[in-house]
Symmetry: C2
Subunit: 310 residues, 2 copies
């Protein structure tokens, strides 16, 4: 009997507690990391910003007192205009803008470059979002299912050819580790019926998906760094933030006036395709790698669950 | 033989194509909806904004020409300051701020109130995010598993009592529809072992989860509308946008100076708890309801798959 069983903690609960602990430690680690990386730059920027601000204040209100100058009111006015998007000449809720807004809601990217400002708009965003996010989750899940099925199909074909080659050489040994994971049971139980029960290992699928994501993100970053004139590292950062559906909104593609792009319609379409595929592939990657992490947790629990008495 | 089989389209592929079509139609519908709801307000706001802007321009640069006045440069300066957060007196990357930033990355909410500005910060956000999002997806999945297990446990207990009552009355009829969904197979196969194979219907779980989410979002909205002094509908909008991990960043809780809150430490903690539970419950809801939508798709495919010949 292991110590978890003695403490009346079931494996499933231990696993949940373990992931909570890991996440808390990971968050604290992240806090230290970003504090260390960003703090100095922030302080420098802040000092520079405040200096410039004082210069502007002197310039615009040099001889007047604050009440007659309205400097702070103006700053607030501009700041609100910037955050609501009114400052930009680009229209937020023309038809294509609304389409973009709808897409940011249901994909849960939420760049925040356009947000509803009327009460009805906000209320209907909730209703629209509940239905839309559900459908989008289903879309991502079905994409994952189709992708893993396709991958299994190809890997099985390759494996069969390999085995045939092996048989010719009169040698037989097991080729791949089989992991009976529910997700993989389900997703590969399609086209081929019961002909062949072989399934690719979750590690192999993870490795292939990871490589595909790496190619896709680099390709997309190259496209965006050319089209938006961003440094490559910033384009890479934008791609990750969008594909992982984090969507900070500090970098957003296709936000300049259309005159800035050579072929705005084609670029709009390409942008849509890249973001959709990126989000799909990253969804697949995070799901498959979460299975890998789950295996790791199970292994950790087994290690920790020392046999206290037999 | 149905028409899909004749066209050599397997059910799984038909389902995927169907969800793609539904999403495209839903997006176009959303575009019309939000265009209709928000367009007028946006145009009005824009006119008002431009008028005020012209007044300010006249006030600050009335007698000077543009080059000597620097008005546009100043507007851009403030606008950048607002979007990078330098304008606010609040520090973005002190330890607690960095913790908040890390949490917005791994939960994929991404409010965007604090974003990395150094190249190293951006690069490490990618690496931190890949690992963190994976762990967070696993956390959400394990939460879903634990929640459905708990729910099954309670529902089974209630059902057994009901059956015992029925038996006393000498009447027997089936109580609940059983749906053999993989997710529910897995998630309820814990504590009780093989004692009882009964599982709650996915519709029942959906209904309970939906009610729980409704309670949670209303409770949270009440808390935020009091603490942040937002109208109730705006607080509701903020809760949905955060819980669904969309995170536009137009409304963000706990962003005022701490002096504005009665008990800032308790509120910070409550804020964390509400956002975590909200995101967990909404993840569960969107997963369970995506199963319901999947059933609906299967039903639609069956309807559409007319028998052409027998
Ligand atoms: K987001
Ligand atoms: K966001």
């Amino acid at each position: 009997v292991g110590c978890f069983a003695r403490l009346r903690i079931y494996e499933e609960n231990a696993r949940f507690v373990l992931i909570c602990l890991i996440l808390i430690i990971y968050l604290l680690f992240g806090a230290s990391l970003f504090n260390w990386l960003e703090r100095e730059h922030e302080v420098e920027q802040k000092i520079e910003f405040d200096e410039k601000m004082q210069n502007y204040r002197d310039k615009f209100c040099g001889d007047k007192n604050e009440t007659s100058c309205d400097f702070d009111a103006f700053v607030e006015f501009i700041s609100n205009g910037a955050s609501t998007g009114l400052l930009s000449s680009r229209e937020r809720f023309d038809y294509l803008g609304s389409l973009f807004f709808s897409a940011t809601v249901i994909s849960t990217i939420g760049f925040g470059t356009s947000t509803p400002h009327t009460s009805w708009g906000r209320l209907l965003t909730i209703i629209y979002g509940v239905v839309g996010c559900t459908c989008c989750v289903l879309f991502f899940n079905l994409f994952l299912e189709r992708l893993v099925t396709g991958m299994s199909y190809i890997l099985r074909y390759l494996r069969e050819r390999k085995i045939q080659n092996r048989l010719k050489e009169n040698g037989t040994k097991p080729v791949t580790l089989l992991i009976n994971n529910e997700d993989f049971n389900e997703s590969s139980s399609s086209c081929e019926g019961h002909m062949d029960n072989w399934r690719p290992s979750v590690y192999k699928v993870f490795f292939i998906l990871f490589s595909m994501c790496l190619c896709l993100i680099n390709l997309s970053a190259a496209v965006y760094s050319i089209m938006e004139d961003w440094p490559y590292i910033d384009a890479l950062y934008f791609c990750f933030i969008s594909f992982a559906t984090i969507g900070f909104g500090d970098y957003v593609s296709h936000q300049k006036d259309t005159s800035n792009y050579e072929n705005p319609v084609a670029y709009r379409f390409l942008n849509f395709i890249l973001l959709t595929f990126g989000a799909c592939f990253f969804y697949c990657l995070s799901n498959v790698s979460s299975i890998v992490v789950r295996q790791l947790l199970n292994w950790m629990i087994k290690k920790m669950d020392v046999k206290v008495e037999d």
